[in-house]
């Protein structure tokens, strides 16, 4: 078997998802022997050259030069996989999409004019064709490994698109929404994290983004019945996957 060339690329992000690659400690030796790691700035000193069989892209697109760069990555890549909430949904930084970017610049920088940035932070798929999206803030190492293994074996990754509740119930965690009226996003969030929050007795805040066919409207109705205001409901969705949740809720970016 020919070792496929892999590249790991970073856009606007916290580096956590590429760190997840290094966090597959037990499998890292397999990773570097099965793949030719041809570009991975965080881990090695390698020039950007040639083509990639698979690219892992972390981070959202939030500057003009990133718009050009993602096109270049796409052109060099056979199979482009995004890793993490930033790349799949614009990340936490997509909260700017619902605000005025000039205000934001002024709030953070003494000389806002020196800062070049786009008014919106957007998912990679808004710019180029994406072959596969791995969700999560950060991605889950097992899913990462499953995805990479599936790529090698030429099959669809066995990664679920159903709700977190499915995993939650399989794990036998008592439902927080039903038993405590806590605003858990589980019913509309993709499974994948391993039910971290409900297992910690806290409601899910949506790291893995909306599951396929999420019925956001109905869940918010349940939250309102449990006593949350409409504003609070929106804030619950406005986190690392705000852009995707709002889109899933209304079919468009804004409510």
């Amino acid at each position: 078997m020919k070792r496929p060339w892999i590249g790991v690329f970073k856009f606007t992000s916290c580096d956590g998802c590429q760190l997840s690659v290094l966090n597959m400690e037990d499998e890292l030796p397999d990773f570097v022997s099965l793949f030719q790691v041809a570009y991975f700035r965080e881990a090695g000193d390698m020039p950007l050259r040639g083509r990639f069989d698979i690219a892992l892209v972390e981070g959202s697109v939030s500057t003009g030069w990133q718009k050009a760069q993602i096109i270049e990555v796409r052109e060099r890549t056979r199979h482009l996989v995004t890793i993490g909430a930033c790349a799949a949904a614009g990340g936490l930084q997509a909260l700017r999409n619902w605000a005025d970017i000039e205000d934001y610049k002024r709030l953070v920088y003494p000389s806002p004019d020196m800062i070049e940035t786009l008014p919106c932070s957007t998912p990679v798929s808004d710019h180029v064709y994406v072959d596969y999206e791995l969700w999560g803030c950060p991605v889950n190492c097992d899913e990462l490994s499953e995805m990479l293994g599936s790529f090698l074996l030429d099959r669809k990754p066995g990664i679920p698109a159903y709700s977190l509740c499915m995993e939650c119930k399989r794990k036998g965690v008592p439902c927080l929404l039903v038993a405590k009226s806590e605003p858990c996003l589980g019913p509309v969030t993709r499974a994948g994290c391993g039910v971290l929050c409900p297992s910690m007795e806290r409601p899910c805040y949506g790291c893995f983004g909306p599951k396929e066919g999420a019925n956001i409207g109905s869940l918010l109705e349940a939250f309102r019945n449990a006593g949350f205001s409409s504003h609070e409901c929106v804030l619950l969705l406005d986190k690392m996957n705000t852009y995707a949740f709002r889109e899933a809720g209304t079919g468009e970016g804004r409510f």
């Binding site: 074996l153 030429d154 099959r155 669809k156």
Partner: protein
């Protein structure tokens, strides 16, 4: 008895490419014991397993009396793609045979009509070859007809076998469309067009139908219009399958387990279900 939830080894004896995306695989069960106990009837299927990739239900396309156990597979997704990368000598996993096959016992003395669309010919080839090979069966029917429709002449599977089929069957072929350079001399149009050509004796006809769901629906409608009794129309359905033995729930067609109660159904059993969208 062999545990049917655990695959056994089967070696690929030979592979024959049928069309651009379809090939026939002859398999040899490796364990003597299992092979000896292995009996199937046409219309049944096996779960073919490529470890690391997954399982797929595939009809047996050879006759029980054939020397080789054959499966004719079209590349559709993970498992079928993985199969297409294998070569003679490679070993895969197999479970089966599963499901209800075609009801041969009901065909005696009747006109047997086989209607196949596309890859739907695979489980029916088993029937045809079975009739061809068993002389006794050959005399059992007053008339034998085989209607087959494919997308284009290039997509006709088992093309080189049709001359032999013609010895025993009235064979009518049709394609959806044919390029002029292919010099197609058969019909063009849907399979159902062939019903007019054959002058069915509807009350003496028993029909086995397999193909894409729409094709089966229109075929059944035509047959019923012509007066073929619903009890004598049989269809082989396709659904998502995971376990193959009625334990997983993926293949439900209304209350029917396609894997266990089918894949071959008597039309009268499922008539009420056929028209319901998204069942």
């Amino acid at each position: 008895m062999h545990d049917k939830s655990i695959p056994f080894e089967a070696a690929i004896k030979w592979i024959k490419k049928e069309t651009r995306d379809t090939a026939t695989y002859a398999l040899k069960v490796k364990s003597r014991d299992i092979q000896k106990g292995y009996r199937f009837i046409p219309g049944q299927f096996n779960m073919l397993y490529v470890p690391g990739i997954g399982e797929a239900p595939v009809s047996i396309s050879s006759a029980p009396s054939d020397q080789d156990l054959m499966h004719t597979v079209r590349v559709a997704g993970d498992v079928t793609t993985a199969l297409s990368h294998l070569k003679a000598g490679d070993v895969i996993g197999m479970r089966g045979p599963f499901g209800r096959g075609w009801p041969f016992e009901e065909t005696g003395g009747l006109d047997i009509l086989i209607v196949a669309g596309g890859l739907g010919i695979a489980p029916l080839r088993s029937v045809v070859r079975h009739i061809l090979r068993t002389k006794k069966m050959a005399g059992a029917h007053s008339r034998r007809m085989l209607f087959y429709g494919a997308k284009t002449p290039k997509d006709i599977i088992f093309r080189n076998e049709f001359p032999r089929y013609r010895e025993v069957f009235e064979v009518l072929l049709t394609v959806d469309r044919a390029d002029p350079e292919e010099r197609w001399r058969g019909e063009t149009g849907l399979v159902t067009k062939l019903f007019d050509r054959a002058a069915l004796d509807s009350l003496r006809t028993i029909a086995f139908v397999c193909g894409p769901e729409v094709m089966m629906q229109t075929s059944v409608r035509e047959l019923i219009l012509r007066g073929v009794p619903e009890e004598r129309i049989f269809l082989s359905l396709e659904r998502n399958m995971n376990c193959g033995v009625g334990l997983c729930g993926h293949c439900f067609f209304g209350p029917k387990f396609v894997c266990r109660d089918g894949p071959v159904f008597r039309f009268s059993e499922i008539e009420g279900l056929m028209g319901i969208k998204e069942l």
